[in-house]
């Protein structure tokens, strides 16, 4: 008989399958997207915003958050931030959230706050530092 033996074909296939199963690593990238403003220093490209359209969120090096609007200033916990921002954005769709993080603050605090801002539906977010 001159045929190729096919009985061990599945063995070979399964062996290869096991190899690929064990080596495959699904590396799906996931993250918080944001678009940066261009590095323009020209005065004519700068947009002056009204004070009532700006909410400042400040993070210090200990990770404490200060929420500053036109007429109020309060220290807020991470848990309450989302609902607070949600109401602010709901009341004023033009609201720009300025996220200012201390240079010595940990990166995770900034990501946590940014996550909550995006979860609260804030679309206009600006990142800055002192």
């Amino acid at each position: 008989m001159g045929g190729i033996p096919t009985s061990s074909m599945s063995d070979v296939a399964f062996l290869l399958l096991v190899f690929f199963l064990s080596t495959t690593k699904f590396d799906i990238k996931k993250g918080l997207g944001i678009v940066l403003p261009p590095a323009s220093t020209k005065a004519d490209k700068r947009v002056k915003l009204k004070d009532e359209n700006i909410t400042k969120v400040l993070i210090n090096k200990e990770g404490e958050i200060l929420l500053k609007t036109k007429d109020s200033e309060e220290q807020i916990s991470m848990a309450k931030l989302k609902s607070r921002i949600r109401t602010l954005v709901k009341n004023n769709p033009d609201m720009v959230i300025s996220l200012k993080t201390d240079r010595k603050s940990k990166y995770k605090y900034m990501v946590m706050v940014l996550d909550r801002l995006q979860a609260a539906g804030a679309e206009k977010i600006s990142l800055s530092t002192n």
């Binding site: 993250g31 944001i34 603050s105």
Partner: protein, 135 residues
């Protein structure tokens, strides 16, 4: 006396003829979906977040920043002032480039801020902060 022919019992064997087909199908799937990691990067513990979105892999460039503040692009350690030049050349290759940050959660934000300023200079304005899904 009439003879009753005993009915044959149904076969209980699992058909193995199509086994290799199934195996090859699975094999093909894994072969196609396997991505061999191109870069080693740095050891980082990424922060966790809820509202994360998928980043298209084919348009992404990754910047690694570990907790000590070491920055790596394409497995080469880089200094902050070099980033603008590197990213500018990457942007020239792919106009839809998204810069992904794989930054350790304990890195100080000052370094990130400096890198972001470099990216703004390089006109790489689409940025994504990679995070793991919070469960």
């Amino acid at each position: 006396m009439a003879k009753f022919v005993k009915k044959n019992k149904p076969e209980s064997a699992i058909p193995t003829a199509s086994m290799s087909d199934i195996a090859f199908l699975l094999l093909l799937f894994f072969m196609v979906s396997t991505v061999f990691v191109k870069e080693r990067g740095l050891k980082v513990t990424m922060p966790r977040a809820e509202s994360i979105q998928k980043i298209p892999r084919n348009h992404s460039a990754t910047i690694y920043v570990n907790s000590a503040g070491t920055i790596s692009i394409d497995d080469f350690p880089v200094e902050i002032p070099q980033i603008a030049g590197i990213m500018n050349s990457k942007l020239a290759e792919d106009f839809n480039l998204i810069t992904c940050f794989r930054t350790d959660q304990n890195t100080s934000y000052g370094i990130m801020s400096d890198i972001l300023n470099q990216l703004r200079e390089a006109e790489c304005l689409r940025v994504s902060f990679e995070a793991k899904l919070k469960r």
